[in-house]
Assembly symmetry: D4
Homo-oligomer: 219 residues x 8
């Protein structure tokens, strides 16, 4: 039977930024290299910038010959078209994570913030099993109106942090753990069930979504 | 054996507002009338205001003789000590719900916002099955920096709304539905899985938590 | 011990088309190459056509030397015996998908429709995060009595679409997503919980089943 | 604080029938009597007909003094405004159920079909544990282009039926069972996992949704 | 047919204490009043002490005329035969809970400890949302070799506590919460997934089991 | 609209005994009193015996005036038409349960066996926490070709028993427990996952099904 | 640190056959080659026969040089020590499966039966979607006192079969399917929830367990 | 964009041992080789010992050139810095496992105990399907104040063991099994639901956590 005319059908939402303040990101998982080429070509033609998530190293390698991509293997994200002009916003968003294993998600959020013109410092390894670590940075963290917190396992960081600082805590459950915490499920329920008001949640591993929310908040 | 010395042990977090901007609310489910009397008495002595959630009508009736409570049966919330002085903040937060059955959760959020000095209009019955309803208020909704959206069933409202407006959407899944959507589970996964960036989520039915987050965002 | 006499025992339901209007399809996952050879040989002997699903590229390669198969790697489907004679039915079924990552499922449905003598256009990338895309094709879509909609993530497309068009929406949840939407679970519950009447659902990724249902509806 | 202005905010989708062919139904669970009075009054003023689901006997009793409702306690449904004028459509839809305990769901579907002007016979008690019962009506059932099948427990009826007849089978899992089949979950997965193509599914107990889909199919 | 000879068949494990150090407790849920009377009569005859859990007030009332029971309605436990002779053990076990709603579980544990000859102080309302409360008692808590911690909602207390003290933390998830934390599920996964080593867990609401474990540890 | 002609549609499977050896039982949950009256009247007319499960006391009371039922409130079962003629089979099936709370399920099985002409002794309270109880009856139990074992909580009885005796163990998970074992789920997975071969399982609380299987085995 | 003395600790249950009639089988998944060598050597020394399940081809290859194993790659089982002496039992057990993809599980059961001295014919491809196939062998199947039925997807075969034949049906859910039936979950719940009495169930894919139960039944 | 400054941010909790008696362990899953090098270098500089879990063979190989690690492939653990000085504690902790497939988890616990200065014997292959094995070591096991029990499948060992010995049983569910016991879920619920008091539980496969708890108990 005849070939499907699929790649031409890609219908990217180029107007999303004007409408919602956040440009559409490219979720690469499940897209073929041909699909990604169509989108990147269209972006190049429109001189548009793009943020790409879940871009596997192999797929990146196949695109890297044709397109200039700022790629990060740790977070499997790429930026096409560079960072925005002008000075980045500072002192608005902090990135906080429970352990070193959460850094891939932290990096997705950090790079997505940079893509939106926001520079955010990382406070790593402040998990609740050693509360002194969180306490020692609590005053620092209190300066930020928005805190993106990443934790896997039991996700106790979200509640402890939200009880210490006046800023909004955006919880990003991290797919770190095993047994009951495999895939981030325990951390997700911890974030949603938090006894500390002022915690909001995004999907497991959704660093980009947390960054987009932060961008909307700080305007 | 001797009686437990339990009521005196209530250790309310009166400093939480100074620390985080949000006073501790009283989650009444599972507390005895004696526990609630201790807390309310202490609040009266400190001239502190309190917001109470999940306060069943029977329990409220038992307290109403001793304490002056502004009670709402639809949302099972009570306010002790009245609203804050001064003019409420307006035009900052909108309340949006998919259907009439979501109004108990909307009311919990609306009253919690009022408790925090925020007046928020309600845009009811704008569920996705009749998109014209959402479209007809889209321009209005675009004025608000924060939108608290409440939906049960499949929760499609969250994504549709977040794709239309620049404000942050705080999704509150509502325990409306049956079968796969019983208890709000389908709406919760819809909020977390939303393809529209800029959606953050709180626990099912947690109108108070959404209001607290909104309060933190608009400062 | 003696060898099992298994391949001869394959008992294909060659009468299913006469009885139900839909010939039995071959679900290849879990079948050995020997099993598939027996079925294909029997089909060749009977001059019967076959539709094969979940046919992995390796398995296809092992069969391709002996049998002439129209294979599609994107959807992992094969057609044996060609398309039916005569002009295909048109303007009866539309294929609609939320994003490019849903195209493997769309292709399974499109090819199964073609196998049944139905030609269906694809409306891709009309996800709810950019409602204008869906709106811009709503009038077009209103002409079709049956719409096969494919979406992963939160599956909000199903409800939005069903609220816009008079045709029946057959929802096919797509295994696109991560965290709570991994494997298509969130989209499945969204389809089942839809607040828009007139949505029916098939199993996650079951493009063939949706096509078979469409075939039964348009007669 | 001031009373919420909630009842006036009910925004019923009176245009849904023109747009999609199916008028909005009233899901009564979670709505107060005041909400339902607003909707019914508006319907009376517009001379519109309404179908109400999940209407508990107590709530019905509170409305029955003011509004004329055709109420069925078995299915907890009510019809306001009577059946449509003209002769009902016949021989298009059959209702099939596995056991007597499924009759509440069958009645919801039967009455919703009647509300849409379709008269459908009921084939009860044809569960798979006594296949002769299904076999004895198989020829009769083969005349219908659409069959709404209701089953709880393990839901084997859906596959057995779909393998016997050319019509489309709309499966409605019924909340009949205990242990692993409590609430209809086993029947739901059976419907979705059916090995017989041509089965589509709606939510557990959603007789109204099945009727709406049937209405869309037979035009 | 003839009556079942059931009550005589009760076969209580009177030797369990000699074998394992912990006498068998009576789980009253699902037992009839007749069953409980047989067990209590046998205990009276043997001059044995008994601890009863999940004893509903109605059932207790039916037994109270015949047997002398020390009953606690908050925890739904009863002690038959009084506390053990001699001075109770002190300074070995502490009871810690996140909020006032956890007190029913705390009381089950406290009374079971007393039944085993252990007196344990209660540190209530030290939930993680107000870390100062936990910090202010951390030094006190460090004196205890065993700490029974009870928390519902997200159960962050378990990890925070275990990171602060040298004693063993026995986590008892409490059925306090709603949505994702309904029934104690979120707290249970938090306890199991804890990033702080030295946390062990018992079933949701199993204060008796935690007390039995503590009894085994302190010898 | 016209009344549904539902009660006449009851289509009982009176031939099932001839076909499969086991007469159809009446699952009363979800059936109205009218449905049950139709079935019982038909049984009386045919001089057939009936076994009824999940018959609530209220429903039984409504039927007891018209029909002679041997009712057991503990197991919520009724026998219509008495036990079979002739001497019952003995020494073929043993009933074994872990605790007193499992007796309602034991009684459903015991009465269903009696209905099938099988007399089975009950070995109660032989749970694994006191292995001596099981050991003390192991030799006795080894005489039986079939053992129906009922256990809730963690269901360890199934594996321990199957490792001790040559007979087939039919496991019936019992809905006894709380937290993770609520509703019998933990016992069900224990039965299915048993490391001891020769354990087969039926649904939670399905004493009738276990009895029917035993009847098929002993012929 | 010193090496663990692990392989010598293998403590095989060589007495199980004398006690329960079924020799212990070797579940190879998770065992190292060294563990398996210890067990096989001990079997050789004792002149004992062994049945091995879940033996991956690689592991088999590593053992095949040292031990004579009758290996079947389809079912990943091996027999050590040959079949039992004497004529096999015939006409006692039938093997029935829904589709060709279920044959790996059928083979595990067929070979385990052979290991126990039972020869069982296979009735393949009699799934419910084409009921004529099941009907055409129903009379044949009625001769067998025990039927081991294997099905994946929705598992409707179990109920249909049990309603047709007098023998006991042992259901073995097969891990065939995708979406809601992935891993055999839908078939498992179908077996447990079966409306046809006389169905008992074993774990997903547990052909060996079904064979052991059949062995116990036919003595 | 600029490189993230991630490795320098590792903030290891070197004070945890002083505070809680248990040094922080390194959970290697999800950490890059660079992260592990930073931690190991810091440990070398501080002359600190480290216990590493979930260290894959490849990652170990990459580190082995630079650091001296006592690595165990079976349990995927490594010890850096050797065992503690002085004689190990004996006769305090026993390791008990149901089957040979549980030995990887046993080894993680055994090596973690050794790291804490505790020498613990292994009682392997004492699963409940052959109770004589457990009985034959019961007297031996009764000498130990703490028993770490590892079991997969249905986890019946936990209850049987706890009913036999006076020591505390720390249950470690093992990820051994398939179908309903896949990943250790059935064993986990069995441990939590145990009818034998004195069982406490840690996460699936968490041998290190069990060892840490044992360390806390024996002081």
């Amino acid at each position: 039977m005849a070939e499907p005319d699929i790649p031409p059908q890609v219908r990217f939402d180029w107007q999303r930024e004007a409408r919602t303040g956040i440009p559409e990101a490219v979720f690469c998982d499940g897209k073929t290299i041909e699909h990604l080429q169509v989108i990147l070509t269209e972006a190049r033609d429109r001189q548009a910038r793009l943020f790409m998530t879940r871009l596997a190293p192999d797929t990146h390698a196949a695109l890297a010959g044709t397109f200039t991509l700022d790629y990060c293997a740790l977070s499997q994200t790429a930026i096409f078209g560079g960072l925005p002009d002008g000075l980045p916003q500072r002192d608005k968003v902090a990135l906080v994570c429970a352990g070193t294993s959460d850094l891939p998600v932290i990096e997705e959020a950090r790079r997505a913030l940079a893509f939106h013109g926001i520079e955010a410092p990382v406070f790593a390894d402040v998990g609740v099993a050693g509360l002194w670590r969180l306490m020692s940075v609590a005053e620092d963290l209190s300066r930020f109106p928005v805190l993106i917190a990443v934790a896997g396992m039991e996700g106790a960081l979200f509640s402890a942090l939200a009880g210490l600082v006046p800023g909004l805590v955006i919880a990003v459950p991290s797919p770190v753990g095993y047994g009951v915490s495999a895939g981030g499920q325990a951390a997700l329920t911890a974030a949603l069930a938090s006894c500390a008001p002022g915690v909001v949640t995004v999907n497991i591993g959704n660093g980009f979504g947390a960054a987009a929310a932060a961008r909307k908040i700080i305007g």
